[in-house]
Amino acid sequence: MRAAVAIEWLKLRRSRVVRTATAVLVFVLPGSAAAFMAAYLSGGDSQLAAKVSTVLNGRTWADYLGLIGQFSSVGALLAVGVVVCWTFGREFSDGTIGSLFALPISRARIAWAKGLVVLYWGLATSILGVLVAVLLGLALALDAAGGAEIAQAAMMPVGVATLTTLLALPLALVASAGRGYLPGVGALLAIVVVTQIVTALGAGAWFPWAAPGLWSGLGGAELAAQVTPLQLAMPYLVGALGMSLAAWWWKHCEVV
């Protein structure tokens, strides 16, 4: 298992897809939130300031880092989802899946190794992204706050990124059963669309893919307050179930 994890980690680090997704999570999402906050702080009656005020209601660290949480609920799902699809689907698209047969390590373990390195990468980049956001926030001269207050506010985007990373793991099954990353990417887009529809129909955070966004305030403060711990625990179940099914599929798949 250790060898499989080391090799999957090497492949992940070398991947251009992963480097792009890392840049999105570490720089683009925090940078976008910082730009929104800068526009909000500049005030005035410009159209930009008016638009930004619809998603930002204050100049506190909680407002600023909460906005990153909102961005992450969609942005991190897309970025991590693409990485999950690539990590699993590339073995079929590139034809290297055959090389993973007839080995002393089972394919189920290789699949788990892939899931573990994606999970680790997702968590590490989300924490790194929040650190970048904090540095940008310090430069923005937000309302004064202590380290403890900032750390507490940072729990929101880290939590959202963790949940969305878990929610992206079932795409491993789609990319594997679809024998390529494109079916997985298609499923990822479908999840984003269905989440919008289900949320609009009022299912709320009982639909696991909607829970992180609603919790971060994407549907407003009132809906955010209604999200329960049980609803926030469901992504853990979804991630574990998705990875288990993907590993089962890898164990039983054939080369065709």
Binding site: I7, R14, G98, S99, E254, V255
Partner: protein
């Protein structure tokens, strides 16, 4: 005919009555094949004869509808990690991740076959040297030519010094020098006692290196050729034509008869 090494004899990989179809196409129709230590066994046949499917069945990449495959005397589903650690293969796509260097690819393959990091690095260095890939050792695999990529796949298949090697068209895309390098690598492996199953379209090439040549056609084994005999190509086509005649399918005229 090449001399079989003294360790030959004991079957390490064998198929007994294996059959596999894909919808209405019977790819392998009840094949018996035995692979012995120290022996290079060539499987030849036209495109679509079922060679690749048979090799997949023998490596557990596909499951037979009937029949069984044994590795070291154990049915494939019951094989242990130790059995698989001594198997190497190259079936169609080489173990060549484009983002990794040549050395990293071979080390990765060796580690997946159970070698610890220091041993894997040492084995990779030797295998890269044996396959003539040293000038490209630190280059990413994405920049390799088709032939070098194929040699990388072979280096990965052989690095951990397996007891059984299954290679599907290993000389595909290789220049004459590459063909000779592969030939020597297979000979060395057989001398170490490795059982080698190799498929090829190049009859002259397999007759130089193989101890046994088995002809496959229409999903069945239709006979064997003497590697030391003359005019192997003509005898191959005679055998295929004889197997095809009952079905009246289109078979090309043997060379020299037109």
């Amino acid at each position: 005919m090449p001399e079989v090494h003294s360790t030959a004899g004991r079957a390490v990989l064998e198929a007994r009555g294996v059959r596999r179809s894909y919808r209405d196409l019977v790819a392998v129709a009840g094949v018996d094949l035995c692979l012995a230590r120290g022996e290079i066994h060539a499987l030849v046949g036209l495109n679509g004869a079922g060679k690749t499917t048979l090799m997949r069945l023998m490596l557990g990449m596909a499951r037979p509808e009937s029949g069984l495959v044994r590795l070291n005397g154990r049915d494939l589903p019951r094989c242990k990690a130790g059995d698989w650690a001594r198997v190497g293969h190259l079936i169609e796509t080489p173990f060549a991740y484009p983002e990794l260097t040549v050395t990293e690819n071979v080390v990765a393959s060796a580690r997946l076959h159970g070698l610890q990091p220091p041993m894997a690095a040492m084995a990779a260095g030797e295998s890269i040297s044996d396959l003539g890939l040293t000038p490209w050792a630190s280059r990413p695999a994405r920049g390799l030519s088709l032939g070098n990529c194929q040699r990388l796949g072979l280096a990965c298949a052989l690095a951990h010094r397996p007891d059984v090697v299954v290679l599907d068209e290993p000389t595909n895309g290789l220049d004459p020098r590459g063909v000779i390098i592969v030939r020597e690598s297979l000979r060395k492996a057989a001398e170490r006692g490795t059982a080698v199953l190799v498929s090829s379209h190049h009859l002259d090439e397999v007759s130089r290196v193989a101890h046994r040549i088995t002809v496959m056609h229409g999903g069945v084994l239709v006979g064997s050729l003497d590697p030391g005999g003359v005019d192997v190509e003509r005898r191959f086509f005679d055998m295929v034509y004889a197997a095809e005649r009952p079905f009246a399918g289109p078979i090309p005229e043997p060379p020299g008869e037109q």
